[in-house]
């Protein structure tokens, strides 16, 4: 195993030219990943990036680690086989909103269901970048794109609601424009055992520029972002005087100090509550009524499929002993034919 203490960003940078459009949000994400990886203490040769197809999915080529640029939508399934076979690896899945929520939707929810121990970075630019600008399942209804010249008609998925519908043990949201925060979240995801989904709001300058402006604009971001912290009240706003209150089962924005509201009225975030209902509740908070929640929605430890598989192999080996091929082949009803003559 190679030494991890001397690793630097350069060790994770491959010699391949990065080929996204100038200004694409993918650069910042790449940068964040390359910056945080040396700090995680994982030997470089144990790191594998598996991606599907999309602009974002070219990511593995730029990492000087093991990498597999697979086919559209299937990264989750490939990562599953990889992780189960070789559980010592640190497996990262890079995917886009089309890759993981359109064609790859089923593998995405099933990976989450099984709680495979992989880290999923979902680059959500609400568009198909690579194929030059068709709408995606996360595009807002009405979006005019190459394939919807009169506006799209589909309702859109909330990546978070869907992931939590599948009972994701870890879900977080981050943005391309705040790479330091992104690094923090990535570190959190790495520490989590099980499927860690990070939805990264990413800007496609070419085909969907400004899709996340409401959330990311410097000027208004304090009012439009709710940074979740475990055990802390959900307070936000430039003046940190706004909060989320539970009204029955619905969220409500209150202003602390107005209408008799105090910090005590503000809902306290609990990423570890066993049932995912609170995370689902957060997933329903959207602009413009609510700030966009960022950070870790949910981080609940549960058994992972990969670990269970090996545990089961182990248990049975302990009980039955290491398999003996001879015993296996000669099992069941056997009979002997002797010598060269027949027996009766």
């Amino acid at each position: 195993m190679s030494d991890t203490s001397t690793l630097t960003k350069k060790d994770f940078t491959s010699n391949q030219e990065v080929r996204w459009c100038p200004g694409c949000g993918d650069y910042a994400i790449l940068n964040a990943v390359q910056s945080v990886l040396p700090k995680l203490g994982i030997p470089k040769e144990k790191v594998v990036f598996v991606s599907g197809i999309g602009c974002s999915s070219r990511f593995p080529y730029y990492m000087d680690t093991y990498g597999f640029h697979t086919i559209h939508g299937r990264a989750a399934a490939i990562a599953t086989g990889l992780k189960v076979t070789n559980p010592g690896l640190s497996v990262w899945m890079i995917t886009g909103d089309g890759d993981s929520l359109s064609i790859g939707g089923n593998h995405f929810i099933h990976a989450i269901r099984r709680n495979i121990d992989i880290n999923v970075l979902l680059f959500n630019n609400e568009i198909y970048g690579l194929t030059k600008g068709q709408y995606s399942p996360t595009s807002p209804t009405g979006l005019v794109t190459k394939s919807t010249p009169y506006g799209s008609l589909d309702r859109s998925f909330s990546a978070s609601s869907l992931a939590i519908g599948a009972e994701a043990s870890f879900f977080a949201r981050a943005i391309d424009t705040d790479p330091k925060y992104l690094q923090e979240i990535i570190a959190r995801a790495t520490a989590h055992k099980g499927t860690s989904v990070i939805e990264i709001l990413q800007n496609c300058v070419i085909f969907n520029d400004g899709a996340h402006n409401w959330t990311t604009d410097r000027a208004s971001k304090d009012d439009h972002q709710l940074r979740l912290e475990h055990g802390k009240p959900m307070i936000f706003g430039a003046e940190r005087n706004k909060g989320i209150r539970l009204n029955g089962i619905k969220p409500e924005v209150i202003t602390i100090g107005e209408n008799g509201m105090t910090e005590a009225d503000v809902l306290v975030h609990d990423e570890k509550t066993p049932e995912p209902t609170l995370a689902y509740f957060l997933s329903r908070m959207r602009a413009p009524e609510f700030p966009t929640p960022l950070g870790v929605f949910r981080a609940v430890e549960d058994s992972t499929y990969d670990e269970q598989v090996h545990q089961q192999l182990e248990d049975i080996r302990l009980k039955k002993g290491q398999g003996d091929l001879k015993k296996l082949l000669f099992a069941g009803d056997t009979w002997e034919v002797k010598g060269d003559q027949n027996h009766a």
Binding site: E45, P60, Y66, I71, G81, T85, L313, L325, D333, W335
Partner: protein, 610 residues
């Protein structure tokens, strides 16, 4: 005990037929196992209805099991049953059309009630209306016989009646002079925790035997002498079981754990069921959300250094095709088992066919060559599974292994090999991280070295986009694409140097060569042997390797005046031979979800040589 004559036979074919609930598969299997133990050679053909249970007593609910036992080499379950055991009117109705006149038909008279006759769509009782004229009809009230035998037991009548299949089996044991002990022992093991059921079934078995022994209605019993079989320890094994064991053996030979990514589908599911039992052998079975995930997970497993495998049938195969293309491009080892069934689309899931050969060769976008090999009979599956794995690892390529429903569910006596005698298979790993190139190739096989995540210094990226020769880096260079396309094709051709030459049984040249592949082996071989015995100039080549074809095959085909290719499809190997060797072949196609009868092939041979 009455005096009965004992007649010696060199082979006999028996079909057990009844309702799905009547336990015919089990009855047939017991008869088979006992016959194997007394040293007969044999082959079986279980034929059961579509996946869901039809209502009891109806035609679609009929389940049958045919077995041929014999003194000399038996390669098929027999064309025409000598005996039909029909447990109810529906079983009679469905099976009678294929029973030749003169055969023996045994029926359970108790089941020929008005209601059952109606369910079977009989207007009149066939036992009474002359329908069975020309058959040797044996009417037995199996139900009563069984109930009488079990009189003392504390079981309700329904449970008792359920034992009547053993009663029928007992009769057959007497008829064909087989011992009861193996079945009695099996019953004891099976019902170890339900002593009363063990007792009941044993009593029923004995009752049937005694009845046949005593009753006048059986004029003679028969003896089928033991076969001339190579010495060794044997067991009876189905194709799917043998295939699963072959994969486990291969895993040991290669020294890598199996990862089977799969999704249930008839008739392939039993491979999953078998392998999921072998956890102490380190076998990982992964029931994926669908066939795409199944093969992708297997690809991920191979990428991660395991033995990635996947098993399916036609419709699932279609779904896997895009991902198999990825394995071709990235040159990862992968074993893909396709247990063929009748198509197109959902088709007839429980029926056999050989119609996925061209799908295996061409069901991918672009030029994406891979290796295809086929099994010929249940016991052969063990070796083919091992070979497929070896080729996959040695040549870093996906290998499609074609089995079919007939082979998968059929059984045969298998001489168990010595696992310690199986050779180790070496893996070609890169050795030097300096100057490591993921697509640098071995000179002989053209295989790239298999570097896996976790190996320090060999970090690299692979993917589905065309890659530069040697480095594998994404490349759109026109000439490079041609180079790589030809290299991928050539690598598969190189496998022909590794596999044995095609053999023929019969004359080295002559009037006719019959070329078969897959599950038709037994019928074709038997037919050719018959023709040879008649002095005809005909040989048999059974092609195991479909892609690449054996290196001598082209030359070999030239040596015969005519080539006959019988297939359970509309002509697929024939197309392959025609375009590969620029020859014309005669075709014999059957597409009925049923195996060939020996005589169907024999009569075609006769016609061609007439």
């Amino acid at each position: 005990m009455t005096t009965t004559t004992r007649v010696e036979l060199d082979r006999v074919t028996i079909r057990f037929a009844g309702d799905s609930g009547d336990g015919m598969q089990l009855t047939g299997t017991q008869f088979t196992n006992t016959s194997a133990i007394v040293g007969n050679d044999l082959a079986t053909f279980p034929d059961f209805p579509a996946e869901i249970r039809a209502p009891a007593g109806t035609l679609p609910g009929v389940s049958s099991f045919q077995v041929q036992i014999g003194e000399t080499d038996i390669y098929t379950p027999g064309d025409d049953p000598d005996v039909l055991v029909a447990m109810n009117p529906a079983a009679l109705k469905v099976n009678l059309p294929v029973i030749p006149k003169g055969s023996t038909v045994i029926v359970d008279t108790a089941s020929f009630t008005r209601r059952n006759l109606e369910k079977a769509g009989y207007d009149a009782n066939p036992l009474e209306d002359g329908s069975l004229e020309g058959y040797h009809l044996i009417e037995v009230d199996l139900t009563k016989l069984t109930l009488n035998a079990l009189e003392g037991l504390e079981l309700d009548n329904k449970a008792k009646t359920r034992c009547k299949n053993f009663c029928a089996l007992g009769m057959m044991y007497w008829m064909y002079t087989r011992p009861l002990e193996p079945t009695k022992e099996w019953i004891e093991r099976k019902f170890a925790r339900k002593a009363i059921l063990a007792e009941a079934n044993k009593l029923a078995l004995q009752a049937g035997y005694n009845y046949a022994n005593t009753a006048d209605l059986m004029a003679s019993s028969f003896e089928v002498k033991p076969a001339q079989i190579a010495p060794g320890i044997y067991r009876s094994i189905s194709g799917n079981q043998a295939l699963a064991l072959g994969l486990v053996a291969a895993s040991k030979q290669v020294g890598l754990p199996i990862f089977l990514g799969t999704y249930p589908i008839t008739p392939a599911s039993d491979i999953l069921h078998e392998l999921s039992k072998y956890k102490e052998y380190g076998v990982i079975t992964f029931q994926a959300e669908d066939e795409i995930a199944a093969v992708c997970a297997a690809i991920g497993a191979s990428y991660g250094g395991g033995l990635g495998m996947t098993s399916t049938s036609g419709p699932g195969m279609a779904l896997k095709s895009e991902a198999i293309g990825l394995a071709v491009k990235t040159e990862l080892p992968l074993v893909i088992v396709n247990v063929q069934r009748a198509g197109p689309s959902t088709g007839m899931p429980t029926k056999t066919e050989q119609s996925d050969l061209l799908q295996s060769l061409f069901a991918r976008n672009g030029e994406s060559p891979l290796c295809v090999i086929s099994c010929s009979r249940p016991t052969d599956c063990f070796d083919v599974a091992r070979e497929a794995t070896e080729i996959a690892v040695r040549f870093m390529t996906p290998v499609i292994l074609l089995s079919d429903g007939f082979i998968a569910n059929g059984t045969g006596p298998w001489k168990i090999p010595d696992p310690d005698a199986l050779p180790q298979i070496d893996i070609h790993r890169p050795s030097d991280p300096e100057d490591f190139k993921p697509y640098q190739r071995a000179e002989d096989t053209l295989a790239r070295a298999w570097a896996i995540p976790g190996m320090p210094g060999f970090e690299h990226r692979i993917g589905g986009l065309e890659g530069q020769n040697e480095t594998g880096n994404v490349s759109y260079d026109p000439k490079n694409h041609e180079t790589m396309s030809l290299l991928r094709a050539e690598k598969i051709q190189r496998i022909a140097q590794f596999i044995p030459e095609q053999e023929v049984v019969g004359p080295e040249s002559g009037d006719l060569l019959v070329v078969s592949w897959g599950g038709t082996y037994g019928s074709v071989y038997s037919a050719v042997l018959q023709a040879q015995r008649e002095g005809k100039s005909v040989a048999h080549a059974h092609v195991r390797y479909i892609s690449p074809l054996p290196r001598n095959l082209g030359e070999l085909l030239q040596r015969y005046k005519r080539i006959l290719v019988p297939e359970l499809n509309l002509g697929q190997l024939s197309k392959l031979l025609q375009y590969t060797y620029g020859i014309k072949v005669e075709t014999l196609n059957k597409i009925q979800g049923q195996p060939f009868k020996v005589r169907e092939i024999k009569s075609t041979i006769d016609a061609l040589l007439a």
